[in-house]
C-alpha cells in the first residue's frame, strides 16, 4: 500500500511522563517518527505534541487509534495537507572563511534567514520556515564549514477553523 506522510497534532495532559508514553507507543509498535515537537498550549492543563509520521493507510489509522487509547491523550487531529501550516526552526553554527562579513550577511538575507557573528569567522545562522526550505538552505550552507546544527521538529496548526479541540 501507498506510504503517506502525515502530521498528527495531539492534545495531551501537561504533566511529566506523557511524552514518554507517546514515544514508547511508537517504538513498541514499530511506528515511524519523522519529527516530533512538544510545547505548552494556551491552557496550562494541556500540551500539544506534533508528530510527523509515515505509513500506509492502515498503519496511520492504527497510530491514531492506539494513541487515542492512552489515558493522557485527550484529542488527536490529523491535519490535512491542504490545511497544513507547519514551521520548524534550525540553528546552524557555521565557519565562513572565504566571504567577508558583509557578503555573508547578504547571502543570509537573500535566503530569508538571520545570522549573528559569534567571533572571527564563526556565525550563528537561524531560519524558521517549512521543512523542505530548511533542507534546501542547509544544502546551500554546505559550501561553508558547518560546525553544528540544531533543528526542532515541526510545529503545526490547521489553516482553517478546525482545531484539535473539535476532535475531543
Amino acid at each position: 500500500m501507498n506510504q503517506k506522510r502525515v502530521v498528527l497534532s495531539l492534545l495531551v495532559s501537561n504533566h511529566f511522563g506523557v511524552l514518554t508514553r507517546v514515544t514508547n507507543l511508537f517504538s513498541s509498535r514499530g511506528y515511524n517518527i519523522i519529527s516530533l515537537s512538544v510545547g505548552e498550549t494556551e491552557n496550562p492543563k494541556f500540551s500539544r505534541i506534533t508528530i510527523v509520521t509515515s505509513g500506509d493507510e492502515a498503519i496511520i489509522n492504527q497510530i491514531k487509534l492506539q494513541c487515542a487509547k492512552l489515558e493522557d491523550v485527550k484529542a488527536i487531529h490529523e491535519i490535512k495537507d491542504s490545511e497544513l501550516y507547519m514551521r520548524e526552526v534550525v540553528l546552524v553554527k557555521v565557519k565562513v572563511s572565504y566571504m567577508s562579513e558583509d557578503e555573508f550577511m547578504r547571502f543570509v538575507e537573500v535566503n530569508e534567514a538571520d545570522a549573528y557573528r559569534i567571533e572571527d569567522q564563526l556565525y550563528m545562522v537561524e531560519m524558521c520556515t517549512g521543512t523542505q526550505a530548511i533542507d534546501a538552505f542547509i544544502d546551500k550552507l554546505e559550501m561553508f564549514e558547518i560546525v553544528e546544527i540544531a533543528r526542532t521538529g515541526g510545529c503545526a496548526l490547521a489553516m482553517s477553523a478546525t482545531t484539535v479541540y473539535d476532535k475531543q
Binding site: 514518554t20 507507543l25 487509547k69 492512552l70 493522557d72
Partner: protein
C-alpha cells in the same frame, strides 16, 4: 477524618469493593502492611511465596470472577517480580490493579536501595500507571485506577507510591465506588450493513474471543447462535463462553484448533468475530484467513478493528448490546446444508483419538475429567502441550471456567492463578493442569496453597521434556533436541509431602479414577504426578505463518 497514606490506601481499596489482595511485604510497604494489620477483618491478604505468584493470583481471581484483581509488592525487586504477571494480564485484557511501594520521594533518582522506576518499566504493559506525588491525590488515584482497569477493554493499572506518601497525613473523604465509563453505540450504518450481511449469509460462522466473557455476553451469544443456527468456534481466550455440549459448538480455532473449526473458516461466507483479535495463533497467515468470507468485527476496542485482518463491517461497542440488537433484528434462520457439511466433516476428521493401551494418554484423561469434577469445576493451566490438550479436550460447562495465559503464554502462570481462583471460589473444584516444565517454574507457590489451606488439585503431566518446544524441534528443527530433555530428578510425590501437601502418582489409565476421587476429597492441596509419553505431540497443528488449508492432522 485525618489518616495517613497507608490507611487511605487500604480504606480506598475497601471503598472500591476490594475484599481480597495478594501480596508480599517489604521495606517500602511497611507502612501499608501496618495499616493492613488494622483491617484484617475487611481485607483478606494472601501471602504468596513470590511477587510473581501474587500478580498471577490476582489475575486468576479477576478472570474467574470478573472483579478486579489486586496485588501489592514492595519497591525494586518486589515491583519487577510483578512485571511478568502484569504483562500476562495486559495481553489477555484482565482487570488488575497492581500497587507498588517505592523509596521515599527524596531518595528517588539516587539509585537508592531497592529503587526501580517501575512506572517506566510497566508503561508498555499497563493501560495506565500512576506515581502518587501527593497524599491528597491518593484516594482519587485509587478510584481512577479501578475505573481505568474496568472501563472499555479491561487491563492492568499500576499505582506506585513513594514511602513518604504512605506516611503523610491528610483529611480523608470517602469516595463513591468507581463506575465504568459509558460505551458509545456502534455506527448505525455499519449495524445495518451487518444485519444485511447476516441475512444474506449461507455459511455463517461465529469466532468468539475473550471479549464475549468480559462483556458477560455468553447468554446472548448462545441465543443468537440458536436463533440463526450459526456455528461457533472460540479462540483460546473465548473457551468456556459456549458450553461444550452445545450442538453448534465447533471447538477451538487456530494453530491447535479442531479440524472442523479451521475447516469452517476456509468455507464460511460470513465470519462474525466477537471480542477477538485475529492473533497469529488464530490467523497464522493474515492474508489468507477466512478469504471466502465477509468479516464482521465486533470489538470494544476500536484499535482492534482491521489491526491484523481487515474486516468488511466494524462494530465498535458492547458485544452484549450488539448481539441483543442482532437477536431482535434478524429473523430465524436455518443453514442446513452448511450444518450438514460441518457435521459430515467432523465425523470424518475429528480431534486425535486417545491412544489404546494401559498408559495414560492426557487426551482421554482430560476428556473424562469433566465427569469426575462436574459442571462447577474451574480449570487452570500453565503453558505448553498440556495447555493445548486441555483447551482441545476439556468439556467446559460454565463461563470463566478455563483460566490460562493465552496471549503472553506465561509458563509458571498456573500455580499463582490457581491460588487466586480457589481463593475466589472456595466451594468449587479447582484443578491446575500443568506440565513438569511449567510447574518447576513457580512451584514455590505450593507453600502458599498449603498455608492458605486451599484444596487445589495440581495435575502434573510429566513427560520429562519441554514438550511443546520439543515438538517444534521434531517438526521444524530436524529432531535436534537442544535443551528440551530436562529429565529433572524431582519426585513430585515427595515434593508434595515436603510442602505439607499430599502427593499421588498415576502411571496407568486404570489409576486415574481412584486417584482423582481421592484427590477430590483432599482437605488441602495435592500434586498428582502423571507420567506420560515424551514423544506425544499436540495435533492438529497449523504451522506458524500458514493458513488453515496447510493444517497437519497428525492422525
Amino acid at each position: 477524618m485525618m489518616l495517613n497514606g497507608s490507611q487511605i490506601l487500604i480504606q480506598s481499596l475497601i471503598d472500591q469493593g476490594v475484599d481480597t489482595i495478594f501480596g508480599y511485604p517489604g521495606g517500602s510497604v511497611l507502612n501499608i502492611y501496618d495499616a493492613l494489620y488494622d483491617k484484617k477483618e475487611e481485607i483478606h491478604h494472601v501471602l504468596t511465596s513470590h511477587e510473581q505468584g501474587a500478580a498471577h493470583a490476582a489475575d486468576g481471581y479477576a478472570r474467574s470472577t470478573g472483579k478486579t484483581g489486586v496485588c501489592l509488592a514492595t519497591s525494586g525487586p518486589g515491583a519487577t517480580n510483578l512485571v511478568t504477571g502484569i504483562a500476562t494480564a495486559y495481553m489477555d485484557s484482565v482487570p488488575l490493579v497492581a500497587i507498588t511501594g517505592n523509596v521515599a520521594s527524596d531518595l528517588i533518582g539516587r539509585d537508592s536501595f531497592q529503587e526501580v522506576d517501575i512506572a517506566g518499566i510497566t508503561m508498555p504493559i499497563t493501560k495506565h500507571n500512576f506515581i502518587v506525588h501527593d497524599v491528597k491525590e491518593l484516594a482519587a488515584t485509587v478510584r481512577l485506577a479501578f475505573e481505568i482497569a474496568n472501563s472499555h477493554r479491561p487491563g492492568p493499572v499500576l499505582i506506585d507510591i513513594p514511602k513518604d506518601i504512605t506516611a503523610a497525613v491528610c483529611e480523608y473523604e470517602k469516595l463513591p465506588r468507581f463506575e465504568k465509563r459509558p460505551i458509545s453505540a456502534p455506527d448505525e450504518a455499519q449495524l445495518k450493513d451487518a444485519v444485511n450481511a447476516i441475512r444474506r449469509a449461507k455459511r455463517p460462522l461465529i469466532y468468539a474471543g475473550g471479549g464475549v466473557l468480559s462483556a458477560n455476553a455468553c447468554e446472548e451469544l448462545l441465543a443468537y447462535s440458536k436463533k440463526t443456527q450459526t456455528p461457533i468456534c472460540c479462540s483460546a481466550m473465548g473457551l468456556s463462553s459456549v458450553p461444550y455440549d452445545y450442538e453448534l459448538y465447533l471447538g477451538m480455532i487456530g494453530m491447535h484448533g479442531t479440524p472442523v473449526a479451521n475447516y469452517a473458516t476456509l468455507n464460511a461466507d460470513l465470519v462474525i468475530a466477537i471480542g477477538a483479535r485475529f492473533s497469529d495463533r488464530v490467523a497464522g497467515n493474515r492474508k489468507k484467513f477466512a478469504n471466502a468470507a465477509q468479516i464482521i468485527h465486533i470489538d470494544i476496542d476500536a484499535s482492534e478493528i482491521s489491526k491484523n485482518v481487515a474486516c468488511d463491517t466494524a462494530l465498535v461497542g458492547d458485544a452484549k448490546q450488539i448481539l441483543t440488537h442482532f437477536i431482535n433484528q434478524v429473523e430465524e434462520q436455518k443453514h442446513e446444508e452448511w450444518r450438514n457439511t460441518l457435521v459430515d466433516f467432523r465425523t470424518k476428521i475429528g480431534l486425535k483419538k486417545p491412544a489404546e493401551g494401559d498408559k495414560v494418554d492426557p487426551r482421554d484423561f482430560i476428556y473424562t475429567l469433566h465427569k469426575l469434577l462436574g459442571d462447577d469445576a474451574i480449570i487452570v493451566t500453565d503453558v505448553g502441550q498440556h495447555q493445548m490438550i486441555t483447551a482441545q479436550y476439556y468439556q467446559y460447562a460454565k463461563p470463566r471456567s478455563f483460566i490460562s495465559s493465552c496471549g503472553l503464554g506465561t509458563m509458571g502462570y498456573g500455580m499463582g492463578a490457581a491460588i487466586g481462583v480457589k481463593t475466589a471460589h472456595p466451594n468449587r473444584p479447582v484443578v491446575l493442569i500443568t506440565g513438569d516444565g511449567s510447574f518447576h517454574m513457580n512451584m514455590n507457590e505450593m507453600a502458599c496453597a498449603v498455608s492458605q489451606n486451599l484444596p487445589i488439585i495440581v495435575l502434573v503431566f510429566n513427560n520429562s521434556v519441554l514438550g511443546m518446544v520439543r515438538q517444534w524441534q521434531t517438526l521444524f528443527y530436524k529432531q535436534r533436541y537442544s535443551e528440551t530433555s530436562i529429565a529433572r530428578k524431582t519426585d513430585f510425590v515427595k515434593l508434595a509431602e515436603a510442602f505439607g501437601a499430599t502427593g499421588y502418582r498415576i502411571a496407568l489409565k486404570n489409576e486415574i479414577e481412584p486417584v482423582m476421587k481421592e484427590a477430590l476429597s483432599c482437605k488441602g492441596p495435592c500434586i498428582i504426578d502423571c507420567i506420560i509419553d515424551p514423544d506425544d505431540g499436540v495435533y492438529p497443528i497449523i504451522p506458524p505463518g500458514k493458513g488453515a488449508d496447510e493444517i497437519i492432522y497428525g492422525n
